[in-house]
């Protein structure tokens, strides 16, 4: 009886390290896509605000698609579309591309609202002080707008951090995929799910607390 060989090995310390590494990959893919996506989204948002007709006809609907099609469909679609047009992308790269575009689409909307929130009188005042358009954008619109959109931007960033779990569908071993692998091996789903949840919570909760604190400080 003592020598009975178990088919499944139990959850050990090594597995916690495995999951920590997977959490790092989750963080990696979401950090890169959030930073690039924010820059692109900022430019798109400015284009949506400034480019009157062309942007509303061309850019608006395209960004809209990213917001009204489930991310999982976008990922599978792009992963299968890239080889057709001759790009041989692996799971990480296609996940990165789609998450970046997804972030950009969400951020563009936020940024447009942020620029609109600065208000015409303020901008006229800036121009009449002798600032040119870019100075007005840099020294007036940017500082005021950033404060206005910061909470929504954090919301978008947290959303992307959580949605990066879907890249697991393509086979990228991030946190949720790792826990799935461990679940298959150890047959202890409840424990592993709890650990994975704790990891996600530990990534996401401090950011949302931090942003709430920041917001309170700014609103004073």
């Amino acid at each position: 009886m003592e020598n009975q060989i178990s088919f499944f090995s139990s959850f050990g310390l090594n597995d916690v390290f495995f999951m920590a590494e997977a959490a790092y990959r989750t963080l990696l893919i979401s950090m890169i896509s959030i930073s690039i996506g924010t820059v692109i989204g900022g430019i798109f948002g400015w284009m949506l605000f400034e480019g009157r007709i062309l942007a509303t006809i061309l850019l608006g609907p395209i960004l809209d698609v990213f917001r009204s099609v489930p991310l999982i469909i976008q990922l599978v679609l792009f992963y299968n579309f890239a080889p057709i047009v001759g790009f041989d992308l692996d799971a990480f790269e296609s996940g990165l591309v789609i998450l970046t575009l997804y972030t950009a689409a969400l951020v563009a909307n936020v940024v447009r609202g942020g620029i609109a929130s600065v208000g015409e009188p303020m901008r006229r005042a800036a121009r009449s002080l002798g600032m040119n358009y870019w100075q007005d954008l840099r020294y007036v619109v940017f500082p005021i707008g950033v404060r206005a959109i910061f909470p929504s931007w954090v919301g978008v960033a947290l959303g992307v951090l959580k949605d990066s779990a879907l890249v697991s569908v393509l086979g990228y071993v991030e946190l949720l995929r790792a826990s799935q692998i461990l679940m298959t091996r150890t047959q202890e789903p409840l424990l592993i799910i709890a650990v994975a949840g704790a990891f996600y919570f530990a990534l996401s909760y401090p950011i949302s607390r931090f942003s709430a604190g920041f917001e309170r400080k700014w609103s004073q």
């Binding site: 489930p70 999982i72 469909i73 057709i84 949605d163 879907l166 569908v169 949720l176 799910i193």
Partner: protein, 220 residues
Amino acid sequence: MFDYNFHWRPVLKSLPDLLEASLVTLQVAVLSMIIGIIIGLFLSVIKIKTRGLPKWFATCWIELARNTPALFQLFFFGFGLGALGIHLTPFFIVLAGLSFNNAGYLAENFRGGFNAVPETQIKAARSLGMNLWQAYTRILIPQVLRIVYYPMTNQFVWAVLMSSLGMLVGFRELSGETQFFASKTYRIFEYFAAAAIIYYVMVKLILFVSKLLAARLFRY
């Protein structure tokens, strides 16, 4: 240009099935929304009005729903409860996961709504002879629902998009059906493109209907 032959005929042939599956998607989204609104109302009232254990419970629910990925929540209801001996069918896994998520997000929206309605209205309602239940359901909650109408619409769209995760727990809604046909015919790109279009149209329709409803409901 493309080294790939697109075959749209199988997609056209199974289009009725896909449309039928999209009704399943709508169904689960609507149900999860109704359950989510009811639980969310309770959670936000509990969080505002009580102290101690009930408040702790509501806070835990809200923070867990908001700080972990929706896919993780589905896995919990699928694999986690399975480990405890509770085996839900795919439909109920998706329904439970979405309802849990909706309730958490909506509770936070409702909290803002409750704070926006003056406290004195409850006192006025009580002094007219209503009991607390009547005061809440007839005076306070209608106003709250009106204030959070647009966030609620967004949450509904979000629920429709998130129901696509049902694909990963074996639920045959639009995405699950799409994947089923895609793996049957190997026309992955074509099928997922069709699903993306259906989702897009569905979301646009929902937003349109919600606008019409808003015009009808908020005439005064």
